[in-house]
């Protein structure tokens, strides 16, 4: 188990899901995530699981709903336009308190957009892409190894709190090859699904109903409040982030996913030039690691958020900082990737008082 293998991000994500106990996959082809369904179609029959290519992303997410409601560990994957189509189903999955994992290997948009990496689905993932009061737990790995390591957590968080979890990657993470190790995952003690899963009563219990329809507004309000109590537990227990070199930093970079690796390179180069630069890397985008910013804001002078978008996560950074320090933004979009040198240039402008 401890041998390293060279794998494409998408394939590693699929294998990690299988090793996390996922046995049902429903999907639809779309670039740049095709290696996930392809890998699943090869592997699932070998482990006694089910791979099914649906007629659309809409159907696929509703198959996930049915399978999750039937008590299965189930996932789907897609890329931006396909994730838009899944939003209806995601809302129903939330409303019926069902666990599942959704992988979004983000590409440039809006519309058909492009097929190159982007982070322009942050709002959709974090702020609620579908209707109703809800959050998705959003995990944003920055390497193939981290994606693999997070997969068991993704399924466990879903089962623990009965919520859908989104693994938010980008085209770069999906397509690049890196050495990965599939570590023995411990997994958690999880609650039984017997009380709600539709497995057939077997004549032994009252019927289970999976449903999101509540005509009585008081009942619906109560359920929403109960769900948000679970979100509070998630905020308390599942927050993940990384802080590097923030203690003495004059300026702190903020970036997630593969962009965080570019930002990390920029930070190291800048440090070698004598610039005091730190990095905050949110790993959970929801819950957002506000506490990291509350720490950094005590010592640093400014923040620079770097994204492959026109500026989406930066809004959460601004809310976390709450006006205490200036928050700057640098982004590339449409499939363009920021370079370390461009980030260093931005850092110098800010530190030199140009911005």
């Amino acid at each position: 188990m401890s041998d390293k293998v060279l794998m494409k991000g998408n394939e590693a994500i699929a294998e990690a899901a299988i090793q996390a106990g996922c046995r049902y996959f429903f999907g639809y082809p779309i670039t740049p995530q095709n290696e996930i369904p392809e890998y699943m179609s090869k592997r699932m029959p070998k482990v006694g699981g089910v791979y099914l290519q649906a007629e659309s992303e809409v159907a696929a997410i509703n198959m996930v709903y049915g399978a999750a409601g039937a008590g299965a560990r189930v996932m789907t994957s897609s890329s931006s336009p396909g994730i838009s189509l899944k939003q209806e189903g995601i809302s129903y999955i939330v409303g019926s308190d069902l666990p599942c994992v959704i992988v979004n290997i983000v590409r440039g948009g809006p519309g058909l957009g492009g097929i190159q990496p982007a982070q322009s689905d942050y709002f959709q993932a974090v702020k609620g892409g579908a209707h109703g009061d809800y959050h998705l737990v959003v995990l944003a790995p920055s390497s193939v190894q981290e994606a693999v390591d997070l997969m068991t957590d993704a399924f466990d968080i879903a089962d623990m709190y009965r919520v859908p979890v989104m693994l938010l990657g980008d085209g770069m993470l999906g397509q690049m090859m890196e050495p990965v190790e599939f570590k023995e995952q411990k997994g958690r003690d999880l609650p039984s699904k017997e009380a709600w899963a539709t497995t057939g009563t077997k004549g032994k219990r009252r019927k289970n109903v999976v449903n999101s329809l509540y005509i009585d507004p008081k009942e619906l309000e109560d359920l929403n409040i109960k769900r948000f109590e679970r979100y509070k537990q998630i905020e308390a227990n599942e927050l993940r982030y990384e802080m590097i070199n923030c203690d003495d930093a004059d300026i702190v970079l903020v970036a997630y996913g593969t962009t965080a690796r570019v930002a990390n390179s920029a930070m190291r180069s800048a440090r070698s030039e004598g610039l005091k630069v730190g990095l905050i890397r949110p790993i959970t985008l929801w819950p957002f690691p506000v506490e990291a910013f509350q720490k950094a804001v005590q010592t640093t002078k400014a923040f620079l958020a770097v994204e492959m978008s026109m500026g989406q996560m930066v809004e959460d950074v601004r809310m976390a900082i709450n006006g205490a320090k200036p928050v700057h933004f640098y982004g590339r979009t449409g499939g363009m990737v920021p370079t370390p040198s461009a980030i260093i240039e931005e850092l110098k402008k800010i530190l030199g008082g140009e911005r």
Partner: protein
């Protein structure tokens, strides 16, 4: 005293929300009787749809899932793939199945998904207040075809059984009606056969039941039955369209 008539076990002992004279109640009962007779209640999972039958999860005493509008066959697919030994059925109206859910219905059939669909066709959107459905007849007046459905601008009503009969994956497709006692008995037989098709692992089964909507048709329950016979039956002929 010998009991000669009772509520089927799988039919819940609750007041249904259906309008007076609506035939959903009859169809629910027929589905429940078929389930009881086949003794499949313990391994049954039903999927409720969106429309008048949206609350059917309250009316069947078996595990139920409520699906988004039109998506019941996809939800049923997910359930059936996880528990192939469960008997999985959907209960859908014409707007749900033949408009917004056309893709899910056709592709579940194309995959030969081993599920059973009870398709209730009353040629109108009932729950939302009587708008034009994909199965609304030419000339039929509804809230959104106030001058009568016009083929030139509103196209033609969809014949679901005829369409599904052309699909390789379907195992059993029949159109029935609940307009009189004889046809009600035939409907029960068809529903039972559809479930038996699934029990035998033969693949996709669908029973289309011609039904009435007195409230939105603006007719009395008895007049509605006559309207069904005179207008729906000629366009939607009863019969078995596919049997493997």
């Amino acid at each position: 005293m010998k009991k000669v008539f009772q509520r089927p076990e799988v039919l819940s002992d609750v007041v249904m929300h259906y309008c007076p004279g609506c035939t959903h109640g009859i169809i629910h009962r027929l589905v429940a009787e078929a389930i009881d007779e086949l003794n499949i209640q313990d391994r049954l999972v039903g999927v409720a749809s969106v429309g008048c039958s949206v609350f059917s999860y309250n009316y069947f005493e078996c595990d139920m899932q409520q699906a988004a509008h039109g998506r019941a066959p996809a939800v049923a697919t997910g359930i059936k793939r996880v528990h192939p030994n469960n008997i999985v059925f959907t209960y859908q109206g014409d707007g749900d199945l033949a408009a917004i859910g056309t893709a899910e219905m056709v592709h579940a059939a194309a995959r030969g998904e081993n599920i059973t669909i009870i398709f209730v066709n009353n040629a109108i959107y009932g729950m939302t207040g009587g708008q034009m459905a994909p199965t609304t007849l030419l000339g039929q007046v509804t809230q959104t075809s106030p001058y009568g459905r016009n083929a030139e601008t509103q196209g033609y009503p969809i014949k679901v059984c005829e369409m599904l009969a052309t699909i390789e994956g379907t195992a059993y497709v029949e159109r029935v009606s609940v307009d009189n006692v004889k046809n009600i008995m035939a409907t029960k037989k068809a529903i039972k056969k559809a479930f038996q098709t699934q029990i035998d692992g033969k693949g996709f089964s669908l029973v289309e039941v011609l039904s009435t909507c007195p409230t939105n048709w603006g007719l009395s329950p008895v007049e509605s039955l006559g309207w069904l016979r005179e207008n729906m039956m000629p366009y939607y002929p009863l019969g078995i369209y596919k049997e493997k």
